[in-house]
């Protein structure tokens, strides 16, 4: 295999020009997964028969299209992607990272978002590792093995969507789908250095995915560029009358916003207080870089951030535990050892705590919305620290010792609690010693377009980018580094 494009945009261009076929791209993709996944453990299942069927169908469309018609082809035609293994895929068991689900029947149909990517021409390569039932921030899954960070395989990939971020960072696929209840897209995006979008709560249909905390669950894409993220996000949008939690009534594409020049300057500020208290040196440096590029000179305070985090934690424990009550009674020994006690703790919580948390959420939402009357985008670190070592029990943040697994979501939980859309932008501060750090680009509900505009500015600055050149992934890292600087990355 040689000279096959790796990035989503390069793949798209090469396919459009008929320089490569979707089947050839898929061959390269599978070969790369085979060569790397014993070190990364991003995939729990490969869907090769389906993938080749979808790739051949894409090639048939490409062959029939005249050069004039190629700009009108489905937006992700022939692009390989993979999904967190809580998405239903027809004919496959939806594991949700659990051993308990192995005996379940295969899904009869695809999840809505998988159907939408299929309609957009994308090629499903497989299903990805995650924390059991999405309850975790590290993807140290005892049943399927820990997912390793491609930039340092002794470190966690983040979670709960660790496989979804690691697969992109390792150059295995340029696009994945994942879920985010308290930070499960943003935390692994930060620790693996990829672009991730948690859309507005209720924006995308959740039908056909295994839930964690229905009142907080979001789904979204991760990709290797802002444009890749936007192409996927636009393809995923649409109303779903059969999902009562899908509040979107029509699509609001973001790609047109990225193409328009001379737009009104963005009003950007940095979140202070709580978001600095729990930010280590690399996190602070990444936000400072983003603020400089975006001209963010002012600091603002997110209302009651610590309370919002506490409330999100309490709702999560209660709803998550209640969902699994029957299994906790009868099959407790089959649960993930790292999370089963937290599930039980949640299920025995006083109901008064959860009710109060929901009532607070209602009040907190109103105060957060008021912030966005003055600001378009707010900045905060996505994680307190860069990726910890696998097995870490504690992390130190500004002289505070905190439990590692729940604390990686300290900075994401208050934001998703009120449903704001967030893009995690990958930065590479020197304080990270080669490891990435995500910056959250937070916008008002239903204003993903503003977060995308900020992301595009950061990408154009050259400071926020995916780095597929880790020597841990490819033996010929030097060549990949050289290719990356010319904007064309190829597999060796």
């Amino acid at each position: 295999m040689s000279d096959l494009p790796v990035s989503l945009l390069d793949m798209r261009q090469a396919l459009s020009r008929r320089e490569v076929s979707a089947r050839e791209l898929l061959d390269g993709c599978i070969a790369h997964i085979t060569a790397t996944d014993d070190r990364i453990n991003a995939f729990t299942r490969r869907t090769l028969e389906r993938a080749y069927g979808e790739a051949d169908a894409a090639d048939a469309v490409l062959r029939r299209a005249s050069p004039e018609q190629r700009s009108l082809l489905p937006p992700l035609l022939g692009i390989p992607y993979a999904v967190k293994n809580l998405f239903d895929v027809a004919g496959e068991v939806t594991l949700a990272g659990s051993r308990l689900h192995r005996s379940r029947p295969p899904a009869s149909t695809d999840a809505v978002l998988v159907t939408r990517l299929r309609d957009a021409g994308a090629v499903l390569v497989g299903m990805l590792n995650m924390d059991e039932f999405a309850y975790g921030f590290t993807t140290e899954n005892s049943h399927y093995g820990a997912c390793h960070n491609p930039h340092d395989t002794t470190r966690v990939a983040g979670g709960s969507s660790g496989g979804s971020a690691a697969a992109i960072a390792a150059g295995q696929v340029p696009l994945t789908l994942a879920s985010d209840t308290n930070g499960s897209i943003r935390v692994p995006s930060s620790l693996c250095g990829v672009w991730g979008l948690k859309p507005t709560f209720g924006r995308l249909s959740c039908r056909g995915t295994y839930p964690f905390v229905a009142s907080l669950d979001h789904l979204g894409p991760l990709s290797d560029s802002v444009e890749g993220l936007a192409l996927a996000y636009d393809a995923l949008q649409g109303a779903d009358p059969e999902d009562p939690a899908c509040l979107a009534r029509h699509t609001q594409p973001v790609l047109p916003h990225l193409a328009v020049a001379d737009q009104r300057p963005l009003r950007v500020a940095v979140l202070d207080g709580y978001f600095q208290e729990f930010a280590g040196p690399a996190a602070r440096a990444a936000v400072a870089s983003a603020a400089q590029v975006l001209g963010a000179a002012d600091a603002v305070t997110w209302p009651d951030a610590a309370v919002a985090r506490a409330a999100a934690f309490i709702i999560t424990a209660s709803e998550g535990g209640a969902l699994h009550l029957e299994s906790l009674r009868t099959r407790r020994d089959e649960f993930e050892p790292l999370s089963v006690d937290r599930f039980i703790s949640g299920v025995v919580q006083p109901a008064a705590w959860s009710v109060r948390a929901h009532r607070f959420r209602s009040m907190n939402r109103a105060r957060v919305l008021a912030l966005f009357e003055q600001w378009d985008v707010l900045l905060a670190p996505a994680t307190p620290v860069v990726a910890p070592l696998i097995g870490s029990e504690w992390i130190d943040i500004n002289e505070q010792r905190l439990p590692c697994r729940p604390s990686l979501g300290l900075l994401t939980q208050p934001i998703s609690f009120v449903g704001c859309p967030v893009i995690s932008a990958p930065f590479w501060p020197s304080q990270g010693n080669g490891l990435p750090m995500g910056v959250q680009l937070i916008a008002a509900p239903w204003r993903e377009d503003l977060a995308f505009r900020a992301a595009q500015i950061l990408q154009l600055s050259g400071l926020a980018h995916v780095n597929l050149n880790s020597h841990l992934i490819e033996p010929d890292a030097d060549r990949r580094q050289q290719a990356a600087t010319t904007g064309h990355v190829t597999h060796g």
Binding site: R249, R309, I344, W353, H358, F360, S362, W446
Partner: protein, 84 residues
């Protein structure tokens, strides 16, 4: 914002007793080791519940049963109901 007074700190044995009895009510039987582990998590959650209780909530603040982050913006071209 300050409001309700947080409850007093719970003794470790009280937490263990609560966890064991609440689990029993729900049909979950726990051995001593499991009670200890769950009680550690429960104690951590108790501290967060105290943070939550520092906020004053008026009685008319309702739980968001079907949560909507903000009104969904309708397209400018959408017909009004009385015109449809």
């Amino acid at each position: 914002m300050s409001g309700a007074v947080p409850p007093v700190a719970l003794a470790a044995q009280d937490v263990r007793d609560y966890v064991a009895r609440a689990a029993s009510v729900l049909g979950i039987s726990l051995d001593d080791a499991a009670i200890t582990r769950v009680a550690e998590h429960f104690t951590r959650t108790t501290a967060l519940a105290r943070v939550l209780e520092t906020v004053k909530l008026n009685d008319d603040v309702e739980a968001a049963a079907v949560y909507s982050p903000a009104p969904f913006p309708e397209p400018i071209s959408a017909p009004r109901v009385d015109q449809a």
